[in-house]
Every structure is written in structure tokens, then in C-alpha cells.
Symmetry: C2
Subunit: 337 residues, 2 copies
């Protein structure tokens, strides 16, 4: 009859006792530190095995002043922003890199006031060894908190109006320029843009890229029609564009969701794509492949973004001073342009 009843977790003391050594030696074995004779090392290992001992991470954390966890904070006033598959990919990348450093991933959706307060708590109480911050808005209270935190902080994408010391970003300006140039080089001259919220750096940067490309080609940039990166606002923006500039023959949408929305509006308006109007998106998410017609878009290495953020954070935690990173983008040509 196996006694499955909750036998208390065994401790390092018990291991040491069973192995006939002191707690210090047992500890050294577990952290494979030097100064342990082969014999004792083996004795301890045997004891660990027999007892099924697992070190208590909390106690270890208290003693070492290292929590063994890194936090990924996603800001935004609406938790649904997180539903964007973008974040899932970031997480996959970050998770893998943290795993390599044997750190746990804490996820904080800092949408509500309450959530933000908890993040502040986390930052100030050193509840994690470091933090990755994403999707900050203009005047986001998290910016201030992050600055005051005496803790490694890595930004994912540069926040508006801040110039953080450590960040990983994607070449949004370059990508948007490339997308617009693609449209222009295909002979389109009346190219409008559906921009993302201009209180985000992504929204601004992609608009800037569009604008640069237009000016460089000697064309007049259109005033940006702004959406909030969702399909429905993309559709609405496209409708507005069509109403104000019926003659346009190309559209650069600041992300794929809005691009898909634009395609829908164009379809409903009976304007063939790409025959009449060509459309380019940004992100290269699944929706771009599924859209009809499949959306030409700017691919960005999202998983790599997450991975590099985590790596940078790990370096920071390790006392190094890594340099910021800007990841390249690349145009993916499909049927829509």
C-alpha cells in the first residue's frame, strides 16, 4: 500500500542528513559548485534521488535575491488588443529564449488600472528579474514606472516619445517604404494609406515610411485615414478613402487586419483587386494568406522579435550591456498587388 498522502516536501537538511554531510555541502552539490569530494557528491546525489528531493524555488529566490522569472508586460487600454495573433508569436519566441536561460515567463496584461498597479508593484518589489514591455501608448504610465524601476527593462518596439536604452524593434519605416515603393513601381500613382493609431510608434513609423516613399517618387502623399489595427476599422477607413478619393489606385494598410478590412470594402464596392486598386498590408500574419485575394504584405520576424527581446533581457540580467536591435522586414508578394 503506497502512502500517497501528502508527505511533506523534503528539505535540503533532510538530504544532507541522509547523505551524512552538512547542508552546505549538499547545497554545493545541487548548484554544482566546487569544493566537494567525489564521494560526498555521490552520496548527496543518492540521497536526493531517494528522497525525490526538489529544491524549493522560493527559498532559493529569497537567499539569492533572484526570482528566476521574467515578465512580459502587454499594455493597452483594452485587453482584446492581446487577441492579436502577433503577441502569441512574440510569446513563442520569448518563451524559447527564456527557457534556454532557465527563467520562467510571467505574463501581465496591463489593461485595467488594477493591472497597471500590479505591474507597478511587480516592478518596485522586484517580483521578477527583468521585464519586457510592449505596446506602450503615448503617455503610458508604464513608461514612468519602467524608468523608475531598478530592474532590467527591454522594450519591444520603441514607445512614442521615449528613447529607451534597450529595445528590439522591427524596421517599420523601411518596411512601409518598401511596401509603398512596390505599389509605385507597379505603376500606381494615386496611392493612399490606412494608418494605424498615430499615438503609437508603429502607427507613426509606418505612416512615415509611406510618406517618405511617396515624396521620394515625387508623388503627393494622402492624408492618413486612421484605424486602430482591427479589421473593422480597416474596412471603415477604406470606405472613407473611397468616398474622399474615388480615383485612388493603391492602398498601403498599416497592418494585415486593416488590409483585410480594406479588401472587404473594396469587394463590396465592386472595385476589383488588384485590377482597379492594389493593396499591400503589413505583418504577414495568417490572415494575409487567407484573405481573398491573398494579401501582398511586409513580413516581419515576430518570433525573432520575442526571442531577441528575451535574449537581451537575459544579457541585461547577467550584467552585460547589449545593444539595441532593429530587425529587418521583407516584402512578400501575393495577389493583391
Amino acid at each position: 500500500m503506497t502512502e500517497g498522502v501528502s508527505r511533506r516536501q523534503s528539505t535540503l537538511d533532510e538530504v544532507a542528513e541522509l547523505a551524512g554531510v552538512s547542508r552546505s555541502v549538499a547545497s554545493r552539490v545541487l548548484n554544482n559548485a566546487p569544493h566537494v569530494s567525489r564521494a560526498k557528491r555521490e552520496a548527496v546525489e543518492r540521497a536526493v534521488h531517494r528522497l525525490g528531493y526538489v529544491p524549493n524555488p522560493t527559498a532559493r529566490a529569497l537567499a539569492t535575491r533572484q526570482t528566476g522569472a521574467a515578465a512580459l508586460v502587454v499594455s493597452g487600454e483594452d485587453p482584446s488588443i492581446f487577441a492579436d495573433p502577433f503577441f502569441a508569436q512574440v510569446i513563442v519566441g520569448a518563451s524559447a529564449a527564456l527557457e534556454d536561460a532557465d527563467l520562467h515567463l510571467m505574463l501581465c496584461l496591463a489593461a485595467s488600472d488594477r493591472g497597471r498597479r500590479r505591474v507597478e508593484q511587480l516592478l518596485r518589489s522586484k517580483g521578477a528579474d527583468g521585464v519586457m514591455l510592449m505596446a506602450l501608448r503615448e503617455d503610458d504610465p508604464l513608461s514612468r514606472m519602467a524608468e523608475e524601476a531598478e530592474m532590467p527593462v527591454v522594450f519591444g518596439g520603441r514607445p512614442v516619445g521615449l528613447d529607451p536604452r534597450w529595445y528590439v524593434d522591427v524596421d517599420n519605416v523601411g518596411g512601409a517604404r518598401q511596401a509603398t515603393e512596390h505599389l509605385i513601381s507597379a505603376g500606381r500613382t494615386r496611392v493612399a494609406t490606412i494608418a494605424g493609431r498615430l499615438d503609437t510608434e508603429v502607427g507613426r513609423a509606418r505612416y512615415r515610411g509611406y510618406r517618405d516613399a511617396m515624396l521620394a517618387a515625387g508623388l503627393d502623399p494622402y492624408p492618413p485615414e486612421v484605424g486602430d489595427f482591427t479589421e473593422s476599422t480597416g474596412a471603415a477607413a477604406m470606405a472613407a478613402l473611397l468616398a474622399n478619393h474615388p480615383g485612388l489606385d493603391g492602398v498601403f494598410a498599416a497592418n494585415d487586419n486593416m488590409g483585410a478590412g480594406a479588401l472587404r470594402t473594396l469587394r463590396e464596392a465592386g472595385r476589383p483587386v488588384p485590377g482597379d486598386v492594389a493593396v499591400v498590408g503589413f505583418d504577414d500574419l495568417a490572415v494575409a494568406r487567407i484573405a481573398d485575394p491573398p494579401l501582398t504584405t511586409v513580413h516581419q520576424p515576430i518570433e525573432a522579435l520575442g526571442r531577441e527581446m528575451a535574449r537581451m533581457l537575459v544579457a541585461l540580467i547577467g550584467g552585460q550591456d547589449p545593444t539595441p536591435l532593429i530587425l529587418p522586414t521583407r516584402l512578400v508578394t501575393r495577389a493583391s498587388a
Copy 2:
């Protein structure tokens, strides 16, 4: 000149000293426990404020034997399974519920062997107060680990071959039946199905629902054409179906991704939807709305799934014994059927 230099974090002892009380009293104030006079309470609060004191969660965890965190473990041999927007929504729900209980969310993608070992470590070392488990496969090693863990465990969706004590699931059988009935009641009689992997409970349950509905209507169920829940395998499965049963007039796809793939194949094969072949999906993710034609599908309350899992876990952690939950689904009629 403000001394921004890393002044050591202040401790409860310092607060107590500044407030002129003992550490115990200060502690009681912080946990607003009874037996503290109004005067001392205020004195402590003032000291906390002046020192900018924030309790150290690690020390608290060690003393209370509660980590203040719950883990969400997503199994699967491929981390990309996590890219499914499904999980993002689960997380939004779970995160909100955990926030209410003031618990942090740890996310574990247990794809690699290494990842699985880390989860085991977590389970055995009580590195979290409880665990939510999702996407288990048949014979998933996590099942055994979860059983042995002396820690609250809640399953999201029932794992194949296990009958866990606590879980939250969605009415997959009922939803699939409903979807199939919808097809049948629209006059379709040659209804095939694109099933999800049959080594997952979801895949099996949805196939069972399809089968039940067909039999109940006196129709012959088709053998399932199996995909792995991705768009491309959905497209491939549809192609296979078309090759084997060119006469079919309806398809129930076990999720929206595969449904979207099916739509693509049908479009490429020149089979009008829904005129020639009607299609119904499952999940009601964004892709269903964006698909062309928009996909009729079975809506499942994903965010609620996450929320209820977290709530159940919180109850369990609180020593209660909640009952399993099966969340209802509902048919959403769009153009594809």
C-alpha cells in the same frame, strides 16, 4: 539633487522602526489583519509611504508557503500550436480572473522535452499555487505529472483517456451536432467532415457530434478526413474529400482554420459556396468573419473558458471543491451555409 542611486529596498523592519512599532504590528497593518489600534495603523501607513516601502513577495511566499502565482501550461509537441489565436483569448479570460484573485500568471509552453521537464519541476517544487493544463495529447507525460502533483490542477478541455476531477470544457459534441444538423436541415444529404486530430479529445468529440447527427437523420456518416487544425491541412483534407466523394454537398470542418482551408480549396476547384457545397466551421474566431464567404460556424465562449478555468483554480486553491463545467456553444449563421 535627488539621490536616484539604488538605495537598498526598504524592509518591514525599517518601516516598523520608523513608525515606532514592532515588526508584527507593521505586518498586521500591511495585511490589514485585526488587533491594531487606529493610531499605530496610521503611523505605519505613514512610514510605508515615506519609505516607499513595497513588501518583498518572495519573502512573503516563503513564509506563507504560497507563491501568489498560477501557471497556464500549454502542451503540444510543436510550440506553433500556441500561435492559434484560441489561446490568446483563453489567456485574456484567465488573466482577468487571476487578477481578481491577485495571482500572477505564469505561462509555460511545454513543447520541448526541456519544457516538459521544467513543468515537472514546477509541479513538484510547488513553484506555483496551482496549474491549468491545456491541449494535452493522448499519453501526454504531463497527465501523469499532473496526477502526482500535490497541487490544484484544472484541465481545459478533457484530456483523452483521462477523467479528471476538475475541468472546464466546451460542449464540443453538442456544437458539432448542431452544425451538422444545420447542414442537414438545409437539405444537404451528402455531408462529409474534416475532423481534427483524433488523438485529441476535441477532435474526437467533434467527430462524434457529426456522426451522431448524421445517424440521427438516417444518413451515412462519411469516414473522417483528418487535419491538424491548421488552414493548410484543412485545404488538403478538402481536396482529398473532393477526390473521393465528388458528389458531396456539405462539409463540417472541426475548426475555422480548416474551414477556411476548405473554402480555399473549393474556390480553387470552382465549386461555389454555399451554392454547390455548404461549409460550417467551429470556434468562431476572426478568420471565420474574414473568410470569403464568411463562415457559418459554432461559437464557443473561449474567453469564458479561460476565465472559468482560472476561477475554478482559485476556488481549489482556496480549499473549495468546485464542480466541473461544460460551457455551451451556439451556431452562428453566416453565408457559407
